[in-house]
């Protein structure tokens, strides 16, 4: 195995276009899989030498978060937790303090697990990935990146440089909850991210609901969002949203939960998550 640490996106794409090349961000998935011999890359391309992958910038249009920024760094940012608390909480559920010191949003998404915690948080927030490759740069909404377990919409030589998170709407709030049988250090049985916006009268003008671990990929449940838009997010609207969330689930049976259990939890979790997002939206 060869280790490379390029300092430009062009050099990184060129290396990644080669046979058996793999991105290294925080390594908390990659190194585990290399040790277990699930992956045996010929070249490991450490993207942390590229400035754009390691910084958070903010302007009027929102945040640009480098793909290799760690969960700990997200939490320490002076305003991100105020604007997008749900996204930061989702990223901070990943593993332990030690894992937080390394784990990145890009790695969480590109590891290709349907249960990745930060992904529903990013989808709900409307995050869009900036992807660099041999042919230049393109953007893709986060919900369109993972196709199936371990399968991504990235082509040879492509990698994610950063994520664009829009500016929080004037009366906007987001939240992420996951169901696990323990209180820490576990993989989501179901995860749910919700972001919504209200107008001055408290009517919902936009809502995005995303579910993790209930299908082959994290889902943007458009119908669940629609159930809230135009309402005051009252009990009736929440019940409709809950039903839409359940209807979108196509989970598997495994040791963490049965199909029926996951579908049931998804609805309940969506309702609880939306309620937190709503409280936050009302407060700002």
């Amino acid at each position: 195995m060869r280790y490379e640490k390029p300092t430009t996106v062009e050099a990184a794409s060129a290396l990644l276009a080669g046979q058996g090349a793999r991105v290294l961000a925080g390594g908390t998935d990659l190194l585990v899989q290399m040790k277990a011999r699930v992956l045996s890359p010929d070249v490991v391309v450490d993207i942390k030498g590229i400035d754009a992958t390691r910084k958070i910038t903010k302007d009027a249009s929102g945040y640009t978060i480098g793909a290799a920024v760690t969960g700990a760094e997200l939490k320490e940012h002076p305003t991100l937790s105020k604007d997008w608390p749900g996204l930061v909480e989702a990223a901070n559920l990943i593993g332990s303090t030690q894992v937080q010191g390394r784990a990145s949003l890009g790695g969480n998404l590109c590891n290709g697990s349907p249960a990745a915690d930060s992904v529903p948080g990013m989808i709900a927030a409307g995050a869009v990935a900036t992807i660099a490759g041999p042919k230049g740069t393109r953007t893709l909404p986060v919900e369109d990146i993972m196709l199936a377990p371990r399968k991504l919409a990235l082509t040879a030589g492509e990698f994610i440089v950063s994520f664009k998170i829009p500016a929080r709407p004037a009366h906007g709030g987001d939240a992420y909850l996951r169901f696990i049988p323990r209180t820490e250090m576990d993989i989501a049985v179901v995860g749910c991210g919700v972001a919504l916006a209200l107008d001055a009268s408290g009517t919902c003008t936009a809502a995005r609901v995303s579910l993790g671990a209930v299908a082959a990929r994290p889902l943007l449940v458009v119908d669940a969002g629609k159930a809230l838009i135009g309402t005051k997010v009252d009990e009736a609207a929440l019940a409709k949203m809950e039903a839409a969330a359940r209807a979108a689930c196509k989970p598997i049976d495994d040791k963490r939960g049965t199909v029926e259990f996951r579908i049931d939890v998804a609805g309940t979790l969506a309702k609880r998550t939306a309620t937190i997002a709503l409280e936050r939206a009302r407060k700002v």
């Binding site: 060869r2 908390t28 040790k35 450490d46 030690q98 010191g101 250090m185």
Partner: protein, 158 residues
């Protein structure tokens, strides 16, 4: 493939070592630098026995490549005591019998020190969450948490 020549700082001292691309930082510390304080429990990020600070950040050294330490600042358990004088956390771990076999202890101490640097007055809940990535098969955690709380109080001068 030629080995990497890594120049880094460990516990304040400039050091150099040669390593293979796939060698972890934990292996480099233990096998190349003879710093065997950090332990290998799982090698998969689950147990925290290999905890070190990398540029001030608490991490599992088993999930970092040795080459990644180039130009960085690594702090291990070996840098905790000042000569013969134990760090307050180390002293409190002895007083409270917060260790039995001791395998988890270097990692727990490094993690606890990182917590107190960030938050000198943590609640018990904060201590428990912060240390959730440090597994201990012996103590049942209560004594560890008590020792950390007591050391924090002493270090605050309370």
């Amino acid at each position: 493939m030629a080995k990497h020549h890594v120049t880094t700082t460990v516990n304040g001292d400039p050091v150099e070592y040669l390593c293979e691309s796939e060698q972890s930082l934990l292996d480099c510390l233990r096998d190349e630098l003879d710093l065997i304080g950090a332990k290998e429990g799982c090698s998969s990020g689950d147990c925290g026995a290999c905890s070190v600070l990398l540029d001030g950040r608490l991490v599992c050294s088993c999930l970092i490549l040795g080459v990644e330490a180039e130009g960085k600042n690594v702090e291990t358990i070996e840098g905790m005591a000042q000569g013969e004088e134990l760090h307050p956390l180390q002293r409190k771990f002895l007083e409270h019998a917060a260790l039995q076999c001791g395998i988890c202890t270097p990692g727990v101490l490094v993690a606890a020190k990182a917590l107190l640097a960030k938050n000198p007055d943590p609640t018990e809940t904060q201590v428990r969450y912060w240390l959730a990535g440090n597994l201990c098969r012996c103590t049942g955690y209560d004594k560890i948490v008590r020792a950390v709380m007591d050391a924090a109080a002493e270090m605050r001068g309370a």
